[in-house]
């Protein structure tokens, strides 16, 4: 089972990283989602993998040799799921806003972010006014 879980986490992580490196926001958001799935599964395994055991102690008897699974990673995963869910919603909204306002969904900053634009002049202003009118 360990090998199955480990290779699944590895495959999802690889897919997530590949998608994050794409240049469109949609792919990046998908990649982010994949990555958080992989991380959630990873967190779950950090308390060791056991099958068919409850996450609580059923008996106070020390001698009963009672076994249980670690409950803490389950709580951590719940927190991580909630947070990553909320964050994904935020990044989707932001990407949508950037797409609507900026006109395309490229993840890179356009050249205007670094290159000094020429000063706008009165003639330009008139031209823009004419175009909008």
């Amino acid at each position: 089972m360990e090998i199955l879980v480990a290779s699944a986490i590895g495959a999802i992580t690889a897919a997530g990283v590949y998608l994050i490196l794409r240049l469109r926001t949609f792919a990046v958001v998908l990649g982010m989602t994949m990555l958080t799935y992989a991380i959630n599964a990873f967190l779950f395994t950090s308390g060791r993998l056991v099958v068919d055991l409850p996450p609580i102690l059923l008996s106070h008897d020390v001698d009963s040799n009672h076994v249980y699974t670690d409950p803490l990673p389950q709580a951590l995963v719940l927190t991580a799921i909630v947070i990553s869910f909320g964050m994904t919603a935020v990044v989707v909204m932001m990407a949508l806003g950037a797409f609507i306002e900026g006109g395309d969904d490229h993840i890179n900053m356009p050249d205007e972010d670094r290159l000094m634009p020429p000063l706008k002049t009165i003639d330009d202003a008139k031209q823009i006014e004419d175009e909008t009118a």
Partner: protein, 532 residues
């Protein structure tokens, strides 16, 4: 149990939502309650500072659960110092946000401000590694809202990059925590520290992996090369006061590095000096890259952003030693660079607002209040570059002194001194373009552009700015308040110089406390009967 410890988290957490519910449409009330919230946070931070000054580590057990099982908040000198620094910065910069009118440019500026404060305070106070992740997310989600405050395509695009980068960072953080939990079986920092200290060296491979992953996460927050790529566009496109508040955001990463690599992974534990070995070269490159950026950029806001990167580089050079002298110098420089960096962003915002939103370094006719603003820019430049008599000089001197016996001493001194000169030239160039050469120019149309086009007389018509990237000075409610708050930050730099002696002694005590992890084990894990 001392309930004051939870106050810096609870106070903004309660006020923020109330402001959204009750005064959504009333900016005046929002301003009043926002400033009251920041003032109260400052008062609580000062109270906690007095409590922590004695050298005791004060622990607050949430829900009164015993330590390794429940979440704890812990207050030591370092946490108290960061709380006060955050509260001062937040209050002063919030006043700037009101004075410049930035808070009118979008919704819920003051609520987000308080949420940001909540996240920052929580991150400084928590003694639990997973709780640190949660507070990181709180401060990040507030910062996403603040960063795109005012809107505009460029800012939104930069915001998408900022969020994506930090989400990847959060995923890495969780991976690091999962690894560390798998090795140590605990998430309480003091408990983890004790278990790491007992760990045999042959079992340390996974632990080292976790420690380095954690270091990467904090390096993303602190913007240490090569994980700095999010910073220039984010800070340059964020609204002026928000960028100024972000001056403390990158310090959260530095704080977390100091916390983890003095308490949990000190150099005498099984991970050895891996932190120093990784951080020091990266810090030197960060410093060089930042200062060259200051010289090379053609945008005023980017100049401030690169100065922020450079300050992190200088800071990390001192912190990377993780000894008392290095930490003392680093903490002094951290206070200085937070105040000076924030002041720089505010001055830059004031200049751009008076140039009709034009933040490019090019010749324009002289701006309004040019004398006062050029004086502020001059002083801020002196502070940021590190020239006497302001605190930047003392900070750099202390760092040079602390690294005098370092094996890398030649590299460290060479980088700091040469890059200071580069930054000096960069600031001199920017200042002369902005203020000096304007006097040679005829304010009439025809000769105030480097492209040779006919310029606009006076302010550019607002219609041209389809996205108003920067606040216009005509929209500002009280320009005097902008000057007062910027002046207050610079006065802070002057005070740092005047009271350098007592402050350094306090920071020395802080560093000594950090070097003594036994104190944390005792307070968090042993002395639990008092909490009942």
């Amino acid at each position: 149990m001392n309930h004051w410890l939870i106050a810096p988290v609870l106070l903004p957490a309660l006020l923020g939502p109330l402001m959204i519910l009750w005064m959504r449409h009333d900016l005046l009330q929002q301003r009043v309650f926002g400033v009251i919230g920041s003032l109260l946070t400052l008062a609580v931070a000062l109270k906690l500072h007095v409590m922590a000054a004695g050298g005791e580590v004060i622990v607050y057990r949430l829900g009164n659960w015993p330590a390794p099982f429940g979440i704890v908040l812990m207050l030591d000198r370092l946490a108290a110092l960061m709380l006060v620094l955050t509260a001062v910065l937040a209050l002063v910069v919030q006043l700037y946000g009101i004075g410049s009118g930035w808070d009118r440019k979008g919704w819920h500026f003051h609520s987000l401000w308080l949420f940001q404060l909540m996240g920052l305070n929580g991150a400084f106070l928590t003694g639990d590694a997973f709780n640190l992740f949660v507070f990181f997310e709180v401060l990040l989600i507030a910062s996403y809202g603040l960063m795109i405050h005012g809107g505009g395509p460029m800012r939104l695009r930069a915001g998408v990059q900022y969020i994506s980068y930090n989400l990847a960072g959060s995923a890495l953080f969780l991976a690091a925590l999962g690894t560390l939990y798998a090795v140590t079986g605990t998430l309480n920092m003091a408990d983890m520290a004790e278990r790491v200290a007992q760990m045999p060296a042959e079992d340390s491979a996974l632990l080292r992996t976790g420690a380095v992953l954690l270091l990467l996460v904090f390096a993303i927050k602190a913007a240490i090369v090569p994980l700095h790529f999010w910073l220039p566009s984010t800070y340059a496109n964020a609204p002026g006061p928000v960028a100024a508040l972000f001056a403390i955001m990158s310090k959260v990463g530095v704080y977390a590095i100091i916390r983890f690599f003095t308490l949990v992974f000190p150099a005498d534990s099984v991970i050895e000096t891996i932190a120093t070995d990784l951080i020091l070269p990266a810090a030197l490159i960060t410093l060089a890259l930042g200062q060259i950026g200051v010289l090379g950029t053609r945008s005023l806001t980017r100049l401030a952003a690169f100065a922020a990167i450079a300050s992190i580089g200088t800071l990390m050079i001192a912190v990377a030693r993780f000894d008392a002298q290095g930490l003392t110098a680093g903490l002094y420089y951290m206070i200085h660079s937070t105040l000076a960096g924030a002041a720089l962003f505010l001055v830059v915002d004031m200049i751009a607002a008076r140039r009709g939103g034009d933040f490019w370094l090019r010749l324009r006719p002289a701006i309004r209040n040019t004398g006062l603003i050029s004086a502020l820019f001059f002083l801020t430049g002196i502070a940021v570059v590190g020239l006497p008599p302001l605190s930047g000089f003392l900070g750099k001197l202390m760092i040079l002194d602390a690294t005098a016996d370092d094996p890398w001493q030649t590299w460290i001194w060479g980088t700091i001194l040469v890059t200071s000169l580069i930054a000096l030239v960069g600031f001199a160039r920017a200042g002369s373009i902005l203020f000096w050469k304007t006097h040679e120019m005829d304010p009439e149309p025809g000769n105030d552009t480097d492209e040779g086009e006919a310029p606009v007389r006076g302010a550019i018509p607002p219609k041209l700015e389809t996205d108003e990237p920067i606040q216009d000075v005509d929209d500002s409610a009280a320009p005097w308040l902008s000057f007062v708050s910027t002046g207050m930050l610079l006065a802070g730099a002057v005070a740092l110089t005047l009271f350098a002696g007592p402050l350094t002694r306090y920071l020395q005590a802080t560093a000594d406390q950090l070097a003594n992890p036994q104190l944390y084990y005792e307070s968090v894990l042993r002395q639990q009967e008092g909490s009942k």
